[in-house]
């Protein structure tokens, strides 16, 4: 087991531990959480639900709420557009149908709802994830770059965490079974 020390003494983003399996990472994350670490993040090539639970401290995602709002706005917009244009702004006798032919307006209302909801969900997700994000310190770790999206399992405890202490945290990570721990340069 090697122990690489940081070449620099400047501030760092955090410490990144690499594990060989998702299971190990999950356990380590659990321990870290119990140890009181909060400003941390785990990285996997595929979603691991349990892991997200731990890292996000069992908070529910806000995406559904945003999506719902989008849907409601969309429904109102679609309905309003049709009623206003057909019955208020420029009413016309079309095939002897009433100006407000509401049954005929249902399809467009529905489509608007879905359209707005879907975009709200998508955009909401990206915003919550802070994407797009051109730069992030974790990519400074070589191992992360080559393995994270393939078959690497990483846990990064960030320097901003109250309990973070460069050497202590490193030891903590090592004894959670990390294959290797690296400084994450800023």
């Amino acid at each position: 087991m090697t122990t690489a020390t940081s070449p620099t003494t400047f501030g760092i983003h955090g410490l990144m531990a690499e594990y060989s399996t998702a299971q190990q990472l999950l356990d380590a994350a659990g321990q870290a959480h119990r140890a009181g670490f909060r400003a941390m993040d785990a990285y996997t090539p595929f979603p691991v639900e349990a892991l997200s639970e731990v890292i996000c401290d069992h908070h529910k995602s806000k995406v559904p709420l945003i999506c719902l709002t989008g849907g409601v706005v969309g429904a109102l917009a679609g309905w309003g557009l049709q009623i206003w244009t057909s019955a208020v702004d420029y009413p016309m006798n079309i095939g002897g149908k009433p100006y407000n032919s509401w049954p005929a307006f249902i399809p467009v209302l529905f489509e608007c709802t879905v359209l707005f909801a879907a975009f709200a969900a998508a955009i909401g997700m990206f915003m919550l994830n802070g994407l797009p994000q051109p730069y992030h310190p974790v990519f400074n770790v070589a191992r992360f770059r080559e393995k994270a999206s393939r078959d690497g399992y990483f846990l990064c405890i960030e320097a901003q965490d109250g309990k973070f202490d460069r050497s202590g945290t490193r030891d903590f990570l090592l004894q959670t079974g990390a294959v290797e721990v690296n400084d994450v340069e800023l």
């Binding site: 016309m92 006798n93 079309i94 095939g95 002897g96 149908k97 009433p98």
Partner: protein
């Protein structure tokens, strides 16, 4: 097109020149060209045209038969925007350039605008407000009184003159289309000598020298060939000519001339008599091979009088009102479709039928010949019915019957006491009536004999439309005479005359003519002659040595002579204003009967040949008649009654006969006459056609008519001989193995299709119908049926109320005879484009009103044929409006289904969803935007639609507005009858009523209250504003049993 490229025949020297002989042979059969595209040759041809041709060479190349062939080989039927369709569709553009060179522009041809500067406006001339002028159009010399709508000096629309006895405000299809003839770009545009432009002066120099030579021996070498003349002015001038040249001769030729009647009546009464009918008085009418309701002199008036007797309102008195019509004919005609009893007979049977009738109604000296049982039965029944209505009965003989038959029919009418009642004899309306054929033959014989030195051919085209065995072309070729042709087109005959002088169209002319009843009708010009041009009067004037006197002077002379006096000016102005001379109808007379004539006639009929396996009947075409209107795009694209064929003629056979002969519809077949004359054309299956009869329409296969007509159809004159002017008793037919695609607007050439069409029409009660007795039992028969007692208008929606005006239309199916006048009227009123044969074949004709035709009963033995005009129903709950994504068709506050062209993006969803299929889509750029003449013709009140937009009947909304605006200004309601739609106005039987259905006094409301009133497809809940009056037939119980 080859004809255009042919050099003009050289002046004929005795013996004739081979070169011209060749070229005459050449363009008699232009299809002789090789099937390979010879680009070099084509290019050479194009150059030979000279002038600014290069920018339109492509179209012209496309016009050469070789290229046509190539296209057909390269792209068979699957090609859409290709072959002749394009050239036909663009026929207007093709002609544009010549016009451009001629320097014609809208304003130089509008005398009114030139003369009257807007600062000092002439009386009742408001820019944008059309003015009506009274004039009249003569067809075969017989006039119909018209009112012409003129927009800023441009005649745009022909209407009937309500005051005129021959019209009563209506017109027929050809008259409606005549305005397009005025603007025909192919009209000859300059005096020419041997094909080179020449002047009136040089012509007159030649004439003077020729005439001085003639005067020496009383004009023995001077000949005049015209159509029948009823014009007092022309008659006066010709008389004067014959006076100053006593040896000169005046010949007549007109393929439509009613020689049979003229001859037959002359036999009967010893002298020519004029004959006209009064159908208002006729209770029972029998028409023998006669389409008297839509063709021939007075047909417009006859149709009206006849229909007035059939527009029954309530059963009370219906029996008294309704007349009964028997029709015996070989090929179905419009008249046949309104008959109560229609008998399919072969022309060769007519003689026997007539004799049998004569015998049955008690004409002395006639014995009934043996007849087959069926014929015997109906002859007996018909005769009984006619006799039972003595004094109110009438027998009408068709012009194709032999003279002897006409004599006998006259005798029958005598026996029925028709004369003085349903039939009026008078002095002939024609000046010096002759037998046209004899007259023409006489002329040709004299030409062969070299007795003719100077010949003026005015307004006739014998080289094309005379019987083939007269070989007019060759005779002209061989003649040494100085031949001057005068006509609208540089036509087939012009090609055989050294001189050609353009004639003026009647809308450019001063003149006069007599109507069917003799009423003298004035002809006054609506526009300055577009290309100079002379009237027949002026031509005769030139022969009289008065080349500078114009038609106006000559006309005035006539009437000054007649009326004279100092009040003449005002009187003459009154004549022009009214368009006719009051009370100038010829007085009825009772000519003395020549006893011997009957027996003579019987003998003559006995000599008539019996019919063979297959008879050939030659008939004038319902649209282009004898071919004189062939270059009129509107008439070419007009679906012919019954066949619904456009753009060509065909060999019409009954399905059964076709089966017997082993041919199918669209097969190209060859008819061979005993003397070896051949006709090659496509076969067309026509239910209702008599078995064993092949009917072929004349008027096609023109070679020098113009870009529209040249090379379409085949000329049936090729089979015509002196002996067989109207057909042959026995011909043979053989399929050539080829087949042709014909352009029809309804149905298909398969028996299954025809059968299903008629079955479904019956099952769906599209045309509702009852007999008089059924009508008496149940006046509301039109509403009996599946959805009886169901409120088809039930709806969740309150719907809209139409408080002010609310337009509606009623079409009386009992009056309509399917004559097509409405179709052309609509086309000229609403700037509807001509799309060409190929597009019609694809089902893309643009007519806003169509006349659907349905066969009743089995297609082998149709019990009846009915016509149903379909316009936009202006549904109150219009399916088309709901589905338009861009709201391009919406409802107006007056209940109209408005079409907003500039909003339309052309999804065609509305057309799909229209149950009546009245919407028309501009699949390509059908409108001609280039040709100057057509710009002149258009109605400025109607948008000219472009490619990619939908269009349809608007109830002539422009006319509604034209009436509503002044009414609103005067703060009054538009009075009933103030607005007439184009179709309504033109309709000879006045089958259409239109008006404000909120006005209880309106005729349309009365009609909608008529128990016969029903809505088409009412079960769809569309609430149509156009409704129909169901048909009531008045069959003879004896026969219907």
């Amino acid at each position: 097109m080859t004809d255009l490229l042919m050099p003009h025949p050289a002046p004929a020297t005795p013996g004739g020149s081979t070169t011209t002989g060749d070229c005459h042979v050449e363009w008699k059969k232009p299809s002789a060209a090789p099937v390979s595209v010879n680009l070099a040759a084509a290019r050479e041809r194009l150059q030979s045209r000279g002038g600014a041709t290069y920018w339109r060479s492509l179209e012209e190349l496309a016009e050469t038969p070789e290229f046509g062939e190539l296209l057909d080989r390269e792209f068979p039927r699957f090609a859409s925007e290709w072959p002749d369709g394009v050239s036909r569709r663009n026929f207007l553009q093709l002609a544009a350039a010549s016009l451009g060179l001629a320097g014609l522009t809208a304003c130089t041809r509008q005398p009114i605008e030139k003369i009257v500067p807007y600062v000092r406006q002439a009386e009742e001339f408001l820019p944008g407000k059309p003015i009506l002028f009274a004039t009249s159009m003569a067809l075969s010399g017989v006039a119909t009184g018209l009112l012409i709508e003129s927009h800023n000096g441009r005649p745009t629309k022909v209407e009937g003159n309500p005051e005129h006895p021959a019209s009563l405000g209506a017109t027929d299809a050809v008259t409606q289309a005549s305005v397009l003839g005025l603007y025909d770009p192919d009209r000859s545009q300059a005096i020419s000598q041997l094909g080179k432009a020449a002047t009136w002066t040089t012509l007159n120099q030649q004439l003077t020298s020729a005439l001085t030579a003639q005067s020496a021996f009383g004009g023995a070498g001077l000949r005049l060939l015209t159509g029948p003349v009823t014009s007092p002015t022309e008659a006066r001038l010709i008389a004067a000519l014959l006076e100053s040249y006593p040896q000169a001769r005046w010949h007549r030729w007109d393929p439509l001339a009613r020689d049979g009647a003229t001859k037959g009546l002359t036999e009967a009464f010893g002298a020519p008599v004029g004959m006209r009918f009064d159908l208002a008085k006729a209770d029972v009418v029998l028409a023998l091979e006669s389409d008297f309701l839509t063709a021939g002199p007075g047909s417009v008036r006859y149709a009206r009088d006849f229909a007035d007797r059939r527009k029954v309102g309530h059963p009370e008195g219906a029996a008294a009102t309704m007349n009964r019509l028997y029709v015996a004919e070989s090929s179905p005609t419009a008249t046949g479709t309104v008959a109560d009893h229609r008998f399919r007979i072969r022309p060769s049977q007519l003689g026997g039928i007539v004799q049998a009738l004569a015998a049955a109604v008690g004409v002395a000296g006639v014995a009934a010949p043996p007849l087959d049982t069926a014929s015997a039965k109906w002859v007996a029944a018909t005769a009984r019915d006619l006799a039972a209505h003595r004094g109110a009965a009438l027998v009408v003989a068709g012009e194709t019957l032999p003279a002897a038959a006409h004599t006998l029919v006259a005798a029958i009418n005598e026996a029925l006491g028709a004369s003085g009642g349903t039939l009026l004899y008078s002095a002939p309306i024609e000046a010096d009536p002759v037998d046209n054929l004899t007259s023409l033959v006489a002329l040709l014989d004299e030409m062969k004999a070299g007795k003719v030195d100077l010949l003026l051919v005015s307004g006739v085209n014998p080289v094309y439309d005379a019987p083939a065995d007269l070989e007019v072309a060759a005779v002209f070729q061989g003649s040494s005479a100085l031949r001057i042709h005068h006509g609208l087109h540089d036509d087939e005959t012009a090609a055989y005359c050294q001189w050609h002088v353009p004639a003026t169209h009647y809308l450019e002319s001063w003149g006069d003519a007599r109507a069917y009843d003799g009423t003298v009708s004035l002809v006054q010009p609506l526009i300055e002659p577009l290309y100079g041009g002379k009237t027949t009067g002026e031509m005769v004037g030139a022969l009289l040595g008065r080349p500078t006197d114009d038609a106006y002077t000559l006309l005035r002379e006539t009437w000054e002579g007649q009326m004279g006096g100092e009040t003449f000016e005002s009187a003459f102005r009154k004549l022009l204003h009214d368009g006719m001379v009051p009370a100038s109808a010829l007085a009825p007379s009772q000519p003395a009967w020549v006893g011997a004539s009957v027996s003579a006639a019987v003998q003559a009929l006995a000599g008539e040949p019996a019919g063979g396996e297959l008879e050939l009947a030659l008939r004038p075409d319902p649209s282009v008649l004898d071919g004189r209107f062939a270059n009129n795009g509107w008439l070419q694209e007009l679906p012919k009654p019954i066949t619904k064929l456009t753009w060509e003629n065909a060999i019409l056979l009954s399905p059964r006969t076709a089966e017997k002969l082993g041919v199918k519809g669209n097969d190209v077949a060859e008819l061979t006459s005993p003397d070896g004359r051949k006709l090659t054309g496509p076969v067309w299956l026509l239910p209702g056609q008599a078995d064993g009869v092949a009917t072929v329409h004349l008027g096609y296969g023109r070679t020098r008519a113009g870009k529209v007509a040249n090379g379409i159809g085949f000329s049936a004159y090729a089979a015509q001989t002196l002996a067989s002017r109207y057909g042959l008793p026995s011909v043979t037919l053989a399929a050539t193995g080829d087949s042709a695609e014909l352009a029809t607007t309804q149905g298909h050439q398969s028996i299954d299709w025809m059968r299903e069409e008629s079955e479904q029409a019956t099952e769906r009660a599209i045309v509702r119908q009852a007999t008089l007795s059924e009508f008496e039992q149940d006046p509301h028969f039109a509403h009996a049926g599946a959805h009886e007692g169901i409120d088809v208008n039930a709806s969740f929606n309150p719907g809209f109320e139409y408080k002010g005006y609310s337009w509606g239309m009623v079409i009386d199916l009992n009056a309509c005879n399917g004559c097509n006048a409405c179709v052309v009227a609509c086309q000229s009123e609403n700037n509807i484009p001509v799309v060409g044969k190929e597009q019609v074949a694809r089902g893309r004709e643009m007519h806003w009103i169509r006349v659907d035709r349905y066969y009743q009963g089995d297609v082998d033995e149709p019990s009846a044929i009915v016509s149903q005009p379909i316009v936009c129903m202006q549904c109150e709950q219009a399916p088309c409006e709901v589905v338009c994504p861009v709201a391009a068709t919406v409802h107006s506050t007056e209940g109209l289904n408005d079409m907003v062209y500039n909003r339309c993006v052309g999804t065609r969803y509305c057309a799909n969803n229209c149950p009546y299929k009245v919407r028309r889509f501009n699949f390509l750029l059908y409108q001609d935007w280039e040709t100057e003449q057509f710009k002149l013709q258009r109605n400025p009140d109607v948008t000219v639609r472009s490619r990619g937009v939908m269009e349809k009947c608007t109830y002539c909304v422009q006319r509604i507005n034209r009436a509503r605006i002044p009414a609103d200004r005067d703060q009054r309601q538009v009075a009933d009858g103030e607005i007439q739609t184009a179709c309504q106005q033109a309709c000879p039987p006045q089958a259409i009523s239109f008006g404000n259905i909120n006005d209880p006094a309106a005729k349309v409301v009365a009609d909608k209250k008529n128990p016969r009133n029903y809505s088409l497809l009412e079960e769809l809940g569309t609430r149509p504003r156009t409704t129909y009056l169901a048909m009531v037939k008045n069959p003879n119980p004896e026969l219907s049993a």
